[in-house]
Symmetry: C2
Subunit: 248 residues, 2 copies
């Protein structure tokens, strides 16, 4: 693989710094899941705009405590402030109201996707709160990488919403290499990717690996059946990027 | 204005019906605010896919009761089911958790934008719930019109998120004309546009009228100062459509 991680880490840091200077921005808020993507993004922003302008947020929602421990590792490594907004009671209150609807049925899809939407709502709430508090504009950083985006593995209106994205053109393998260069804690960087919601790893849920997705993206040889599954997923999720709009 | 409302109403209904048939879809969920945009969209969907496949939702969140009354008018007119999911306690629970953050400050922007984000989360939750219940896919219908979109007057990650939009290419005046053709109740159709959140009308908040926005869009004569304000708003909100992404 022809990918110079050191060079790209430097370029991403410059990209962030330039954008912040050009637009006179203040800081960034991002959810820290304890996984590698948010760890790498947080590290890059801390190096670009200074850790004092980075606010990491843990947003537990009936979550495993291990995720919070790993978030602390990342925050300590890069020296930014980590705050906590517990969404468990908010989620429970929502479900209580939803159950009052006479048509109510339990839907696993509804429940799984509600969490990233509440998290998105939270990081934007906090970005505007820190903007008010400091008088400088805070953005929300996205953490989606190229493989996830290719197969549409994100929640529309959830983790799919952000103000700036620095991993969107990097495969999972490239994200890890950038993470190694900037020193993301190993325990976080080499964790199996998981949404932290369904109790399964992403690759279990998807039925293929991100390495295979990278091969499809790069036009490298990959098992034809696996390729077909990935391309079907890609096509099926195009509605997350482009919606039908009636034109006069 | 060269706009044949009868013709476009028919074409929009065909557009919706074709999309549902082609993709084997079941129904639609949309928030009914009591304003004209959601009233017109609900009426068009009821005519296109049958009122039995339309679920309207009122999503009060510290809201005026008049909005709910007007929502009932729309549902009765077009014969679709109206359900209610009260977000007031969810919103309050969120604020209670946010106040536990040591940096907490009250931010009006945070509060105003939290509501449409909770509403978006709710309609998607319900769309997936009705999909589970009926075994047919329910979409979320957007209600943004061309004037609002032009000046970016929507909440990113809130009412800006949907699966299909039929008003996106229609000015406010054109939306009203389509509403007249399909029989949206007058009390709803001629109400001053308001987000129902800030207690002000949209035009008060924006400092210009949607009629002026339509003139700018259509290249018609408009006061130069007003035009400058509208174009500034348009430019300032481009970040809601295109975010910066680092490219290798």
């Amino acid at each position: 693989m022809d990918f110079n991680a050191q060079e790209h880490a430097t370029k991403i840091i410059d990209f962030i710094r330039d954008y912040y200077q050009k637009n006179n921005l203040g800081g960034v808020v991002l959810g820290i899941s304890g996984g590698k993507d948010s760890g790498v993004v947080a590290g890059l922003f801390a190096k670009a705009i200074g850790p004092e302008n980075v606010i990491g947020v843990t947003l537990p929602c009936h979550s495993k405590s291990q995720d919070a421990t790993d978030a602390v590792l990342v925050a300590e490594k890069f020296g930014f402030k980590l705050i906590n907004l517990d969404l468990t009671s908010v989620y429970d209150q929502f479900e209580e109201e939803a159950k009052k609807i006479d048509d109510f049925v339990v839907s696993e899809d509804s429940e799984i996707n509600l969490k990233p939407r509440l998290r998105m709502s939270s990081v934007y709430y906090l970005a505007q709160m820190y903007t008010k508090k400091t008088g400088k504009v805070y953005l929300v950083a996205g953490t989606g990488n190229k493989c996830e985006i290719y197969v549409g593995y994100f929640t529309k209106g959830g983790d799919g919403v952000s103000d700036i994205n620095v991993l969107g053109d990097l495969t999972v393998e490239e994200v890890i290499k950038v993470g190694e260069v900037i020193g993301v804690p190993e325990q976080v960087l080499y964790k199996a990717p998981s949404d932290g919601l369904s109790g399964k790893t992403d690759e279990d849920r998807l039925g293929f690996t991100y390495a295979d997705v990278a091969k499809v993206i790069n036009g490298e040889p990959v098992d034809e059946n696996v390729k077909a599954v990935i391309e079907r997923k890609h096509a099926a999720n195009q509605h997350k990027f482009n919606i039908p709009i009636y034109k006069k």
